[in-house]
Symmetry: C2
């Protein structure tokens, strides 16, 4: 049992090496053990490339007959861009397979386990499953909720302001925190902001290593012609506007016109459209009202609060999460809190959940 | 040197045993060492009772001639409620005195050290002084700034709200945090709130072990007749009203009428009056506007932010620190941050400072 945990943990570490590169696939790592010795390992490097278990099988320099395979996700049993891994495992003569968690994809879910068992292979499932689900939280959300995983990132003062009463917002947090936030963008498929953020800050919204899609909620199609993301990055730009907006032609840029509900573009529909276009995760960076829309629709899966150790005060200063607001009963509670220091700032990370006792 | 730190640390621990009981005196502890062995110790138990060094000298069961005295604050050299400790130290035959920090009281400051040296005693000062000053932060502020030490305590959501958009504020934080906050009241001479908090919440404002003074900023003298603190605790109640307020007789309760400045009662004058009446520390518990007044006047020495892991949202929801607000340039930065978990909530403690580079 202790050995199983040790090697499953190792599969997670291997899997994580490809963070940011496997989308829309999950991150998977595999370790092969024979006579209590690790003889091979592998991980899924990129969507379209061999799966982790195949990498591990191919990397083995000795015969793996009778070996044990550790893997953080149930192997596939269907033809995707690569042939089913289950068959290859059976062929290989592996005698035991230890899986952290079942694949949430209904095409696979439990089916591969059955197939392995039918072939006389011993299978253990479920140990270390919470951590394995967290590692692939984007993938699990996609499969189980049929929508992108939504992360909200904020940078605020201790008293919850994202700008001073006079309007200044550059910068609330320090350089380290800002760099860290840029790095976070590398993990997700797109960065989403409201049009006010574009008009006020004219941001670039790039990651450190990646240039993610930029999504702007712009009901009246007010995006300025010289906005950086429109001028320099139009092919990576997706705009959501209201059906009531005056049409404008924006070369190279995808504009979706959707119907307003209660005077707002419904974020649920925005997510649904993004999902149809292969976006698996959305990194929401504000502003105050945009973030609020996602919270009010119970569509936030993860939060990153960067908190600067300053006190701005101001009844009219912009609050980090505005909108209508929620009652104490309906507001989300943030669980699995992690608190870190990033430079002089703090970072509080957690998972909002809406079904309180 | 290492030994000096060890025993000075011990003096702080001893001193702290009387926390909440020595006001307006500082907390002081003393240890006596002879031939590298601790032979006695003591601490100042209560204002009017013997000072720590006298306790330690009296507690010694062997002759202390030639011994070393460790103490976290410079001994006194004046007649207060007890005779000068310096003379007693000289008489005792102690050969070395190790002092963490000088007494900020101008009547004593450095004078006792000179007197000890003149008597041929070896004196070391300054090791562990930062910690020693922090222990007696109230006393040092009183002496150096001639005003009470001001602590602001808040209970807010992650996004800085002290009430939901609908007005509910009971409760933002959990039971553990609320109990912890009540315990904090025991450390200070009075609890201060704005009249809106009294009207809205009708609080008792008591500590766990102590019944501190209650101070209410009530410009128009609107305090309800049946307010708990007026009805049950009038002798411990101090009200500040505007000179423009309609006079009202409030039996047993001290009411100070002061002149408004820019439409507000100036908190600087309130602190000055409290200081004159022997109040050494003020625990400000809100609301939003009252806390802001102290921040805007740069009169907050310490903050306790209790943060509940919930997200309330709401552009119009009450923010923890309201008022006019400060610019990024003028706003205080909070230093010496300490982050703790209290039940399901977080507590961020620190010291605001206003002079940024």
């Amino acid at each position: 049992m202790k050995r199983d945990i040790y090697f499953l943990k190792k599969t997670l570490e291997l899997a994580k090496r490809a963070e940011g590169h496997t989308s829309p696939n999950p991150m998977v790592g595999a370790v092969i053990l024979k006579n209590n010795k690790e003889i091979s390992c592998g991980f899924h490097k990129k969507s379209g490339k061999p799966h982790a278990e195949i990498e591990a099988i191919n990397n083995a320099r000795i015969n793996i007959k009778g070996a044990t395979l550790y893997i953080n996700l149930e192997p596939c049993c269907h033809f995707g861009r690569t042939p089913p891994c289950v068959d290859k495992i059976i062929e290989s003569g592996i005698r035991r397979v230890v899986i952290a968690t079942l694949d949430p994809n209904p095409v696979v879910h439990g089916k591969s386990v059955s197939k392995l068992k039918k072939a006389g292979i011993k299978v253990s499932v479920g140990c270390f499953s919470k951590q394995a689900r967290r590692l692939n939280e984007v993938f699990f959300k996609n499969m189980e909720a049929k929508r992108p995983f939504v992360v909200v990132k904020l940078a605020q003062s201790l008293d919850g302001k994202i700008a001073a009463a006079g309007g200044e917002s550059k910068w609330i947090t320090g350089e380290h925190a800002r760099k860290f936030a840029r790095k976070l963008r590398d993990k997700y498929d797109c960065v989403l902001v409201g049009i006010n953020t574009v008009i006020k800050d004219n941001p670039r919204l790039n990651g450190v290593k990646k240039n993610p899609y930029k999504v702007v909620i712009d009901p009246k199609l007010r995006i300025p012609k010289d906005a950086y993301i429109l001028k320099n990055d139009s092919q990576k730009l997706i705009i959501f506007a209201s059906t009531k907006a005056k049409k404008k032609s924006l070369k190279n840029t995808k504009v979706f016109f959707i119907k307003e509900e209660k005077g707002k573009l419904p974020v649920k529909e925005i997510l649904s459209i993004l999902n149809q276009h292969g976006i698996t995760s959305v990194f929401v960076e504000g502003g105050s009202c945009t973030a609020a829309n996602f919270f009010e629709e119970k569509l936030v899966d993860k939060v990153h609060f960067f908190i600067a150790p300053i006190i701005l005060g101001g009844k009219s200063a912009l609050t980090s999460i505005g909108g209508q607001g929620l009652s104490l009963r309906d507001c989300p509670e943030v669980s699995e809190l992690r608190i870190e220091k990033i430079g002089q700032d703090m970072l509080i990370t957690g998972y909002p959940y809406y079904d309180k006792k």
